[in-house]
Symmetry: D2
Subunit: 362 residues, 4 copies
Amino acid sequence: MSHNSFGHLFRVTTWGESHGPAIGCVIDGCPPRIPLSEADIQPWLDRRRPGQSKFTTQRQEPDEVAILSGVFEGVTTGTPISLQIRNVDQRSKDYASVAQSYRPGHADLAYELKYGVRDPRGGGRSSARETACRVAAGAVARLVLGPSVRIRGALVQIGPHAIDRAAWDWAQVAANPFFCPDAAAAARWDDYLSGIRKSGSSVGAVIEIVAEGVPPGLGAPIYAKLDADIAAAFMGINAVKGVEIGDGFAAAASLGEANADEMAMRDGEVAFRANHAGGILGGISTGQPVVARFAVKPTSSILTPLHSISRDRQDTQVATHGRHDPCVGIRAVPVGEAMMACVLADHLLRHRAQNPAHKDGS
Amino acid sequence: MSHNSFGHLFRVTTWGESHGPAIGCVIDGCPPRIPLSEADIQPWLDRRRPGQSKFTTQRQEPDEVAILSGVFEGVTTGTPISLQIRNVDQRSKDYASVAQSYRPGHADLAYELKYGVRDPRGGGRSSARETACRVAAGAVARLVLGPSVRIRGALVQIGPHAIDRAAWDWAQVAANPFFCPDAAAAARWDDYLSGIRKSGSSVGAVIEIVAEGVPPGLGAPIYAKLDADIAAAFMGINAVKGVEIGDGFAAAASLGEANADEMAMRDGEVAFRANHAGGILGGISTGQPVVARFAVKPTSSILTPLHSISRDRQDTQVATHGRHDPCVGIRAVPVGEAMMACVLADHLLRHRAQNPAHKDGS
Amino acid sequence: MSHNSFGHLFRVTTWGESHGPAIGCVIDGCPPRIPLSEADIQPWLDRRRPGQSKFTTQRQEPDEVAILSGVFEGVTTGTPISLQIRNVDQRSKDYASVAQSYRPGHADLAYELKYGVRDPRGGGRSSARETACRVAAGAVARLVLGPSVRIRGALVQIGPHAIDRAAWDWAQVAANPFFCPDAAAAARWDDYLSGIRKSGSSVGAVIEIVAEGVPPGLGAPIYAKLDADIAAAFMGINAVKGVEIGDGFAAAASLGEANADEMAMRDGEVAFRANHAGGILGGISTGQPVVARFAVKPTSSILTPLHSISRDRQDTQVATHGRHDPCVGIRAVPVGEAMMACVLADHLLRHRAQNPAHKDGS
Amino acid sequence: MSHNSFGHLFRVTTWGESHGPAIGCVIDGCPPRIPLSEADIQPWLDRRRPGQSKFTTQRQEPDEVAILSGVFEGVTTGTPISLQIRNVDQRSKDYASVAQSYRPGHADLAYELKYGVRDPRGGGRSSARETACRVAAGAVARLVLGPSVRIRGALVQIGPHAIDRAAWDWAQVAANPFFCPDAAAAARWDDYLSGIRKSGSSVGAVIEIVAEGVPPGLGAPIYAKLDADIAAAFMGINAVKGVEIGDGFAAAASLGEANADEMAMRDGEVAFRANHAGGILGGISTGQPVVARFAVKPTSSILTPLHSISRDRQDTQVATHGRHDPCVGIRAVPVGEAMMACVLADHLLRHRAQNPAHKDGS
C-alpha cells in the first residue's frame, strides 16, 4: 500500500523531486526474458520531453534514462528494474519566493498542511517532472503487453475547442505539436494557444487514450475493476479533474436503447454493434477497444497576479514569471498512454495468475 | 491486492451473490472503542433498499444487517467486524433464459470470457445487490470519521435534465424519491421518469457527493492521491462511466485565471475564494469541502428486445420483463456516500500513521 | 495489508471470536471451475476438531462449515468464497473472572495494552478456535494445488521426547491421537502425556510439515521468499515460538561440506543427494520436498496458580479449571498443513502470473 | 505485494545486483521532519562492510551511500527516500564458469528453474550484497523509532560453539571481529574459525537480536503478528534456515509452569518475572524486550569440490577459489538488527493509525 507505488504484479515505485540529483523508478514483477535496453524506453521519454515547441515549458531536460538493474545480456531477469534519470536543468537557486508563499491551484499549501514541511524547488514531489518515470515504466509495460496491444493517445479538446471526431486521423497526431488527430483543429489551436501564451494565461484540455487488441477478461470484480484502476491511474496524473470510460458523462443523458452495445455473430466471432461501454463491462475487458478520457485543468501558473497567503499567514500575491506552460494538457498525452499501458500489464499478469488457461502473446 | 477488498487500513472485503443464501462484508482495521450496533448501520441500508418508490426495482429485500464479530459489550474491539445480510427474495428459478444468453451492457459475457463460468442468478457477483455491503461498511466508516465530517449526496441530473444549482436545498433530498436537492427539478423528473418507466425504457443520471469537515492533509502523493482513490471508488460502482472532482470536465474549458482558487486570511484562518479544485490539491485535502460527481449509464435491462448472442454462439434477442429499474442512478446516491466515507476513513488512518501530530476527533 | 488476511493472490481473510455467533473466512482469488462443496472441506475440519481424545480440550464443537458464496452448480466461479462455521458450545457466562485479570502467557494483557479493550470470552480473537478457518481455507488451497502436491504433517516431539526419525511411517499418523509417525514413540507419549494431563500441567511440542510434488520455481526474491512466507505463516499460529526450514538450527552447527545438497543427473533429471535445504534455495522451491517445522510452547492454562495482575492493577493469582489442553501442539498439525497449503497455492498463482510458461496441473 | 518490497507503512523496496552499476532502495512512508543525512546511515553500513577482518570476504566495497530524494534542508519531507550505493569492486569478468554450472546450496538452479534466465555475476540478485540496502533502510527505521528504542545484535553461536550466556557483555560486541558478547568465547572462536578458514571450509552460526524500549501494543492479530513479521524478515535474509522468538524451540521441551511469564505490580508498573515469550504475546508487544534469533547455514562456497550439474545437464564439479567467507553469519548481525528496526518502525506506524491514543516519542 505504498503511497508512491502503483500496480500489484507489474508494480512501479517512483521517487525523486524536480530539483534533486535525479528521479527514477523501480519496476518489480516484470516477466523475465523480455529484450530490454535503454533504446526501448528513450523514444517514449523524448515524446514527453518539454521544450519541443513554443507551447510547452522551455525547461531543457534531456531526460536520458539509465537501466541500473534487472537486465542481463539484454533481457529482463525477473528481478527489479531500476530506471534513473539525472536532473540537469535544476536552477534551484530561484525558489526562495515560492518557498515563502503558496501558489493557488498548486500543492504547496496541501503539502505543508500534511507534512509540516515541503520541498519548494520546482514543486518538489508534486512536479510534473515525476511523470517522466511513468512514461519510462509505460515503455516497459508495452513490452510486457506485446505487439498485439496498441495504445495511442490524442488531445481531443483545448479550452472550449474540441476536435471534429469525424476527422480523426491517427497519423496527424505526430504531425502537430498538440498530439491532435484532427488537422484542421490543430491549425485553429495553434492560433488560439498562441494567444493564450502571449497573454500569459493558460487553458485546460481533454486527452483520449485508446487501447486496441486488449484481450478479453482483464479486470476483476468488484474492487479491482479495470475501469476503476484506469480511473485511479488517470486521476492521479497532475492537474487531472475528470475521467471517463466510453461514453462517460454523455451516458448519463442517454436512454437504455441508445446506450446498449448490441452483439451479433460475425464470421464466427462475437461482434459488437457499438462501443458505448468503452470496451469494459462489469469491470472486465470485452475485447473491444478500451477507450478512456481525462480532463486537465489550466495551470494557475500565470502572469496575472493571484491573491494568496504566505507561510507566515499574511495576505500576498503570486504571479509566475519566466518559464510558462500555456497548456499542461499537451504533455499529458504520453503520460496517459503510459498509465494505460501499466494498468493493462498489471491486469494481464493478475488475470493469468487466476486463469491460467488464458492465452496471450507475451 | 485482493480483488474484492478496498481500502488499506480501513479495509473492507465484500462477498456474496444476489441469489445465494447471504451477502456480507468483513471490515478490518476499524479503530477500537467505537460504540457500534446494528442500529448504527440499518438506517443507511434502508435508504438504499429497493422498492421504496415506483422508480426503483420492486424487488423486496429487508436488507437486515447482523454483526457477527468485532464488537463486545457495544464497542468495537479493533478486530474484524463481520456484517451479514441474508437474502430473502431470491426467485432464482427464473434465471434459465438469462443463463443461456448474454444481456448487452451487462457483465454476463465479460465474466464468461474471463472465468469460463458465471453465476447467472440475478447477475451473480455483478449484481447491484453487492452495493448493500458498501453501504453497511460506509456506516461504520462514518463513525470512524466522527461527527465533524459530514457526507451527503444528491442526484443532480436525470437523463438530459440537470438541476438548477442555485436552487440547491439539502433538505429537499429526503423529500422526494430522487434524492434531488432542487424541488422544482424533482417535480419535473417525476413526470419524465414516469414516462420512461411506462415505456419500459431507462435513463442515466449524475450523482454529486459532498464531504464537509474533511481535515486537511488526507491523501498522499503520488499514487495514493485522495482524488485518485475517490475516482477508483466511484468508477467501481456498477454502471458508472465517469468521475469528476470539483469542476471536473468543465475545468478543461476554462482559463487559468478563472480556475484558480485564490486564498486570503480571514479571521486568522486560511480562506479560499472558490472551490474549483473540489477540496483537493496535489492529491491532498485542503480543508475545503470535497466535491465529487459520477455519471451512471442507463441500464440495458429494457423492454425493447436487443440483439445479442447465446452461449452456444447463435444470434438471439434479449428483453427484460418483470422487475425493471428505470434509473439505476437513484439508488447509487447512498452508495456514493458510503464509498466516500470509506475512502476518507482509510485516508484518515493512513495520514495519522505517518503524521502523528495530526489532530482529529476520532 | 489487512491485519486479518494472508496471501496475496490466493487471499484469505478470517473473522470471528470464539464465543460470538460464528466464525468464518473469505477466500478471494480462487481460480474458477474447481469442483467444490462442503464435503471437500469438512473432513479437514474434523481432523482439527477438539474433543476427539483425552489429550485435547473437551470443548465440543461440530465445526460444520457452510459455503455462502463463490460456488455455482458445484464449481468455483472465481468470485469470493465465504465460509462460515456457527459457534455452538459457547458457555460465555463464565468469563467474568478471566475478564478481570490477565492470564500469564496469554494475549489478554497485550490486547488491552493495544486496544484499550478486549473480548475476554474464550480468548476472543486470540482463541485457537480461529484456526478452524485456516483449516477450511487450506482445504480449498489443496484443490488449487491439485493432486500432484501432497502436504502432510506430523508431531515429531512432545516435551523433551522426540521421535526416532528412522522409524518414520506416515501410515502411523492417523493411527494414534498424536499425529505421531513413530508407533513406539506414540506409545511412550501416551503414558507421558497422561501424567501431564492428570497433574494439570502442560507441555510443548514440535510439528513437521512436508510438502511433496511442489513444482520448482515457487517463491520470489527478495521479500517474498517461499521460506519467509512459510515462516510467517507458521509463526502466526497460536503459541508458536520457532520455525525451521530443512535442517533449521542444526545447520548452524554444521560445516559447508556436510550441508551442501550436491546434485547429479539421474535418468535425465536433476537429482539431489540430500535435502538439507528443505526444498528451498534462494527463497525458491527446487522441486525437492519442502520440509518445515515449528515449535509450540506449553499453554500456561494450568492447574497451578500463577502470579498475575488484575485489570485494576492489583496482584492476583490465576489458575485454569475445567477444560484443559495438556498439549496444544497436537491440534496444530492440521493447522500447519493448512498454512503450508495456503502459502503454496498463493505462490503458485504468483509464479504463473510472472512466468506464464510455467506448467502446472491446476 | 511487491516481491522486492517489505513493510506496509514504512515500506522499503530494494533493487540491484552485485555486479551492476549500483544497488539501492526506496523508502516510502517515512514520517516527515526527521533530521536525516548520509552521516546517519553510513556508520551502520560500515559495520556490515566486508573485508574488515580475515573472517569475512576480502571483497572491497566502500559501500558509500547517497540520498537522492526525500530530504530537504536536512529533514525528511514525507516523500520517498531514494538511497543508492555505487558498485565499485565488480570483477564481473570471471563469472563465466559460474554461469555454466549450478553451485550446490546456492540459488543458481532455483533462479533458472523459475525465470529461465539468471544473472550469474556474483550471484546476481541473490547476492548477500543486497543486504547493504537493508542496513541502510534500517538506519532510517531507527530514526523513526527514536532513541527510546534500542536494537542490538550479537553472534551467540559459531558452528557447535555457543557462548556462555552468563558472560554476556554488550560492550564486547564491538571489541572482536565476531560481534560476540562473550570475550572468552570470542577468543576460542578465533582459533576455531581460523582453522575453518585455512581448510577452505565454512560453518554456520546463530544470531540474536534484542530490541529494548519497544512500546507495548505493536503487532496485530491474526496475520500481522509482530513475531510473524519478524520471522519473515529474518527468514528472508540470505542463508537463514531457522527463526526463534523468546525461548524458541526450547519452549517445546518445557512445561507450562516453567514457561509462564508471571506478572506482578512493581512500583506501580506491570512487571514480568521472566521473558520466555520474548516480549510478544498473541502477536503483540508487551513492553518487555523483544528477543529473537536466527540460524545461518554454512555457505557451500568451499574449496572442496562438490558434485553438481551444468546448464547443459551434465554432471560436473564445483569448487570455490579466491575470495572465501568462512562464516557468512558474522556479517548477518547488522542485517538482523536492520530488519528488526524496519519491522518495528512499520508496526509503530500501523499501530498509531488504528490506535491514535498511542503515545510514542517520534
